[in-house]
Amino acid sequence: MRVTQGCFSFLPDLTDEQITAQVQFCLDKGWAVNIEFTDDPHPRNTYWEMWGLPMFDLRDAAGIMKELADCRRVYGDRYIRLSGFDSSHGWESVRISFIVNRPKEEPGFRLERQEVDGRSMRYTTKAYAVDRPEGERYGA
């Protein structure tokens, strides 16, 4: 099951040229681009691991693409996303976030039902991937 989080996730995976264009778009807007990765694809998992610090004051996408290449070399089997942080007054938050790398196989999520308090039901989703310990989830 293909994880759909952030921008462009219903489109085919972006090529490197397309990612470069997006990154340049962010930089031209004055946003700081950040690289994050994770192997826990649950939608409520908002805190992904950071690949280095957010990159402020860059002018050209080449520097970020270089970092992305480095990150892919180490964590190519995990989800990697780029986010653009707008520090201008009134926004001060992430303006764009999109996945740029995903595992070869995405097993998806299961729905768990829990019977509580008589006839009530509780539902929760769990990624199949997290059944295995961190770092071994996508057949590294």
């Binding site: 462009f8 264009a21 340049q24 990159m55 080449a62 970092e67």
Partner: protein, 309 residues
């Protein structure tokens, strides 16, 4: 929010077999940058000639790219050597403009750094620091002033070497993404290149900045004054010509920078002279003109006389 979304990646334009040179020349508008260089930088004939050559080479290279004849990206890293105050930094800024117009750097900004910005203070601090600067310089020009400080042979555990290695690697592997310009005083740069042969071979253009002649220094002084809306009176001009002759023989003379400092002090004395007489009406002319007295009060003359006596 994401207008830049998915655009089809443009295909490479088909190679052309003939190009109108004049049209191409005018299209990149390199002439105006060179004219500005001539107008705003006095003297420096060998430097200007060299920049002209580089600009021509890049123009031809650009045409060759359009004709699909260019096989490799030209190496553009440069080294500027010369005495203090000969315009190395100023030319580096212009160089970024030229490279940008010709399309050899994508953004055309200049990141000016020294050893402190590249080299860390403890183990493991240098690499991230250098890489961060390199990332900022991507798409533009990285100007490393007094580059020889990067290498300190007297301390074998100096972190400068680590910065040098990262620099060399990026200078080689990401030639399309940034241009590195090293600058520094001639003799020390020579020593630096001798101990780091990797740098010399990765730098295509070595440009030497000559010292200014006295007449050029005078022209620089007048240009600076005009920019600040001041002017010499006839006698003050004579006095300043003498000032330059004397100052040049004294130690720590740093060409245009010394001239700028001298002018700053002259303005100080001029202001003091004006304020000394309060009961009068000032005209525009009074405030703009610098008199001989403002120049002659300089300490330089006193020291020159003492030495001559």
């Amino acid at each position: 929010m994401t207008q830049a979304a998915i655009q089809p990646v443009p295909d490479q334009p088909a190679p052309v077999s003939a190009i109108d040179l004049r049209k191409e020349f005018e299209a990149v508008d390199i002439a105006s940058v060179l004219a500005q260089l001539d107008r705003e930088l006095i003297g420096l004939v060998p430097v200007k000639t060299r920049i002209r050559e580089i600009a021509s080479l890049l123009l031809v290279e650009r045409i060759r790219q359009k004709m699909a004849l260019a096989t490799t990206f030209p190496t553009l890293h440069m080294s500027f050597t010369g005495n203090p105050g000969t315009g190395k930094t100023t030319v580096a800024m212009r160089m970024a403009g030229i490279l940008h117009r010709l399309g050899f750097v994508r953004r055309g900004h200049v990141i000016s750094v020294t050893r402190d910005d590249l080299v860390g203070q403890y183990i493991g601090h240098t690499a991230p620091k250098t890489k961060e600067i390199l990332k900022k310089a991507m798409g533009g020009v990285l100007f490393i002033d007094e580059a020889y400080y990067l290498y300190r042979p007297e301390n074998e555990r100096d972190y400068g070497q680590e910065a040098i290695e990262i620099l060399l690697q990026v200078m080689e592997s990401q030639r399309e993404d940034l241009v590195v310009i090293l600058a520094g005083y001639g003799d020390r740069m020579e020593k630096f290149f001798q101990s780091n042969p990797g740098f010399r071979s990765r730098i295509a253009h070595h440009i030497d900045f000559p010292d200014y002649a006295e007449s050029e220094l005078m022209a620089i002084a007048e240009l600076m004054l005009t920019e600040q809306n001041y002017r010499f009176s006839a006698e003050a001009r004579e006095a300043f010509i003498r000032y330059i002759a004397v100052r040049k023989t004294q130690p720590l003379f740093s060409n245009a920078r010394s001239i700028r400092n001298a002018l700053d002090r002259i303005r100080l004395r001029q202001a003091n002279r004006i304020v000394a007489k309060l009961d009068r009406t000032l005209t525009c002319d009074d405030v703009m003109s610098i008199e001989a007295g403002d120049v002659l009060a300089s300490r330089v003359f006193a020291e020159g006389a003492a030495k001559g006596a």
